[in-house]
């Protein structure tokens, strides 16, 4: 009997029931999963799903899967945000609000973790997968199977995070789980372990993606595309991937040490027995600060493409832009301590990191001015990606300015960990990263799906997001100055914070409405796809190579590989410059579908689940199976297939030599 009890680790039936609010969430989640499974079964789509999507090695399809998962997680992260806002709008004085302290803390931890790891990272890798190979004139990424594996590791993290909602609990120590709070002594339950293994597994996926895209950019560019002829988006991805490759191992190592503390009783970061929590805080931010630049750099890059395209003008100051991107890449490693000026490092150290931080404002400012001067003397058409750009500059500039305020240690002492700080980072992440990726999604949507998104609904979404954003976060700046700290699940009514929290809640509702409009936009556009069809392959009069192929882009990307002689190669070719496509058609060799990534993903979930619940037999079994699957894959000889040159020629709808 005891033997069987040990097999269950620390699993226990009591972890199913937490209260009615959680019960609602559990039902919603299970309902959604059942609905998807039901629909797939009813329409007999399982085989189609497996063959066309799950096992695909096509970067574009992997990108679409990333984006679908990220949007799903956006819905969850946004629901979390609405619950936080509702609780803080209600819980003044005697009112306890509608959720307990512990649940509130789980929600903000989940909100932060989900939004950064599974929404922002998901959208970023999704967008990169969609267009990066097309932009550099390549048929695929350097390592297609690794790419699909990265996606399934990301998905494994998503699955574990959502599993915590159904069975167990999530971390309640904040999205970066500072020890000693996150150590066994203060958080013995499975919550921190769910958090830890979700991002540990997803983080490994991100690292592999980073290597993959770095190699892709360096080795798979079209003939003639020298580094200084790369589109600026590609440069920004290059910067971001360099950051991924150097920063994510720190995350992996740090989380690994924390997991040893928690499951093996070690003392890397405990308060006693020689452990040092300050080391964790340093390490996690040595990853964490580059991480925010990993997210923002591709957004910067794609705005470069968007502004140039919609201003019908070359990007202003390309070289400055490249230097600025690379400067930000390097500088972002030298500022991590600004997240904890208040740890008492002393004047010299604080001043150094403060100054390094404000130096980043220089290249960022240069980028803003270059975008503005791309618009100057242009012929700007205000399609919805351009609306996102306007909203981005208007909000991001404010966030940048408050960032400079926070970079001065003596000021930081007074606003650190207050809602002012919360307002600041939402200001740069929503205004910069989220608006950026939405611009990118709208911009590249027709390339992948063959029809545009509905314009007016898109513009309505921009308006709702922007006004909702201002209403939600300007009150938080003010609350910070009133001395309101972050992460409070209730407060004293005499402080007079409640009206501001209510205004902020209304803002959050507007953002929620913006998301609903965006979903409606997608559904309506699918409905009206005939009217919105992109027959040209180049709906925005684009400048870079992805617009040179038909929409939706064929799975082999290019029938003939492009040859590039200038920047904006496609735009120049359209206007009488050098041809991009010429010469003979050749056989195309493409990777064959494989379920390898799916198996790795499933085994990773089991591995993480075993660690979380102390099912050591499961950890062992899944590790052995994982090793077997990897070795088995190396024996797979038949991993590519060929499209003969004649077929390629027949399939090519773009025979005209441009």
């Amino acid at each position: 009997m005891e033997f069987f009890a040990n097999l269950l680790g620390r699993m226990d039936l009591s972890y199913f029931w937490h209260g009615w609010v959680q019960f609602g969430a559990q039902l919603t989640l299970i309902g959604a999963v059942v609905l998807v499974i039901g629909l797939l079964t009813y329409f007999k789509k399982w085989k189609w799903l497996w063959r066309e999507w799950l096992t695909t090695q096509d970067a574009k399809r992997i990108g679409v899967m990333y984006i679908i998962v990220a949007v799903g997680m956006l819905l969850r992260g946004a629901s979390d945000a609405l619950m936080l806002r509702l609780q803080q709008a209600l819980a003044s004085g005697n009112s306890e609000g509608f959720i307990s302290s512990d649940h509130f803390q789980q929600i903000f931890t989940a909100h932060g973790t989900i939004m950064i790891f599974f929404v922002a990272m998901g959208l970023m890798f999704g967008l990169i997968n969609l267009v990066l190979p097309l932009m550099i004139g390549s048929r695929d990424v350097a390592f297609p199977t690794l790419n699909s594996t990265s996606f399934y590791l990301f998905l494994a993290g998503v699955v574990l995070t959502n599993l915590s909602l159904i069975y167990g609990e999530f971390g309640s120590a904040g999205w970066l789980a500072y020890p000693p709070l996150s150590e066994l002594a203060y958080s013995p339950g499975p919550g921190i372990d769910y958090w830890l293994w979700s991002i540990q597994i997803a983080g490994v996926g991100s690292l592999l993606s980073g290597i993959n895209f770095l190699v892709t950019i360096l080795k798979h560019r079209a003939k003639g595309m020298t580094l200084m002829k790369m589109p600026v988006f590609v440069w920004s991805v290059l910067g971001a991937m360099i950051l991924v490759v150097f920063a994510f191992p720190i995350l992996t190592g740090t989380l690994f040490m924390l997991s040893l503390d928690r499951s093996m009783g070690m003392h890397f970061f405990t308060s006693d027995f020689g452990g040092n929590p300050m080391m964790y805080i340093n390490l996690i931010w040595a990853w964490g600060h580059p991480e925010v630049y990993i997210l923002i750099l591709p957004a910067f890059g794609l705005f470069g493409e968007v502004v140039a395209t919609f201003s019908r003008k070359r990007l202003f100051g390309y070289k400055s832009m490249v230097w600025a991107l690379m400067a930000i890449t390097v500088l972002s490693y030298t500022v991590w301590l600004h997240h904890f000026f208040t740890m008492g490092a002393g004047g010299n150290v604080n001043a150094f990191f403060g100054i390094m931080t404000m130096i980043i404002a220089v290249p960022t400012g240069v980028k803003v001015f270059n975008w503005l001067f791309t618009m100057y003397r242009g012929k700007i058409s205000f399609a919805s990606p351009m609306w996102w750009f306007m909203a981005f500059v208007a909000t991001f500039a404010l966030g940048g300015a408050t960032g400079v305020l926070l970079s001065i240690p003596a000021i930081d002492f007074q606003v650190h960990n207050s809602l002012f700080l919360v307002a600041h980072f939402h200001n740069v992440i929503v205004g910069g990263v989220v608006f950026g990726y939405f611009a990118g999604l709208t911009y590249w949507f027709p390339k992948i799906f063959g029809f545009r998104l509905h314009e007016r609904l898109g513009k309505a979404a921009v308006t709702l997001w922007t006004s909702g954003f201002l209403l939600a976060f300007i009150p938080l700046y003010i609350l910070g100055l009133l001395g309101a700290t972050r992460r409070l699940d209730h407060y004293d009514p005499s402080l007079g914070w409640q009206p501001l929290f209510i205004v902020s809640g209304i803002g959050a509702l507007l953002i929620g409405l913006g998301i609903v409009v965006q979903l409606a936009q997608v559904v309506y556009s699918i409905w009206k796809r005939r009217q919105l069809r992109d027959t040209t392959g180049d709906p925005w009069d684009g400048r870079t190579l992805e617009w040179s192929v038909p929409s939706p882009a064929p799975h082999y990307n290019f029938a003939r590989l492009p040859i590039v002689s200038t920047r904006d190669a496609w735009y120049e070719a359209k206007h009488g410059g050098n041809q991009v496509f010429s010469g003979e058609y050749k056989d195309i060799e493409l990777p064959r579908n494989t379920g390898f990534g799916v198996y790795v993903g499933i085994l990773s979930v089991l591995f993480g689940f075993g660690f979380i619940w102390h099912l050591w037999w499961l950890v062992l079994l899944s590790s052995v199976a994982l090793i077997y699957v990897i070795i088995r894959r190396t024996y797979d000889e038949n991993i590519t297939y060929v499209i003969p040159a004649a077929d390629v020629e027949r399939l090519d709808t773009r025979k005209a030599a441009i």
Partner: protein, 320 residues
Amino acid sequence: MKWVLKRLSQIQIPRIPIVPRVVVLLAWLLGLCLIAFVLWFAMHGQTVDVLQTRGEIGNRQRDLLVFASLLAVVVLMPVYIMLFVFAWRYKEGHHRKYTPKWDGNKRYETIWWSVPILIVSVLAVITWVTSHSLDPYKPLASDKKPLQVQVIALDWKWLFIYPEYQIASVNELQIPVNRPVEFTITSDAPMNSFWIPQLGGQIYAMSGMQTKLHLIADEPGEYRGMSANISGEGFADMHFKTYAESQTDFNQWIDKVHGYENTRDLDMSSYSHLAEPGTSVVQYYHLQDQQLFYNVMMKYMGHSIGREQTSEMTNMEYSN
């Protein structure tokens, strides 16, 4: 069914009628005024802790915040002006000068590399100076001997020890005005952050370590203090009142605490009772154990330093 679908597919999103731009502009202005009014109403009569500071450190941090904010406004203005002016002027159909191949200008780019560098240089100098002059570890210049307060962050309450006066209080801090206060801070719980915004900025409280914070109150008053770093379930209740008062009133308070019938003795055993997780009302203690603060700190260090050395070190620390 098919008929319904067909009908549905014919639905077009109604086009918003073209409203005169003036009306749109007025609506925006009205909206802004409304929001400004709501915010003003919400803040009416509230203390803006970070701006309405009542101590030298807080005042200087506020001045710095105001100066840097004004500088930021100056920098942001041209960005906003250019953004909207360019967007308007060069909108398609406005037939302004169009130079599609113009992709750079050395002189312009030099301007926006060098002007931000200049501004950041100015800020860097200010940062360097103020990081040192407002270093929380730096003792404040005063002719008065600073009041020593030892602060221990507990799950989820604050313990203030006044070694000079042999008393301790929970969740209430009393200090004389115009006399510097030297806080020595540790934690016997997860990491917290000790913050009294109206007096000045915060510093972390960490177990097994001590941090320092020097503050001074210029005016008598009641100031809110709190933990600014998440420390577990009762974190939201981890706040306290700070009373700044004249030296006479302060002395009276000390006497009151000593004479108060509910004042208990504070030694390691009553401390461990107090340190158990839970929130707390205001409590007073007679300090029985002068070494309490260092013993609390050292209990995390016991395995790296021998017992004798520990007591030697605590004595040394204390005599400092």
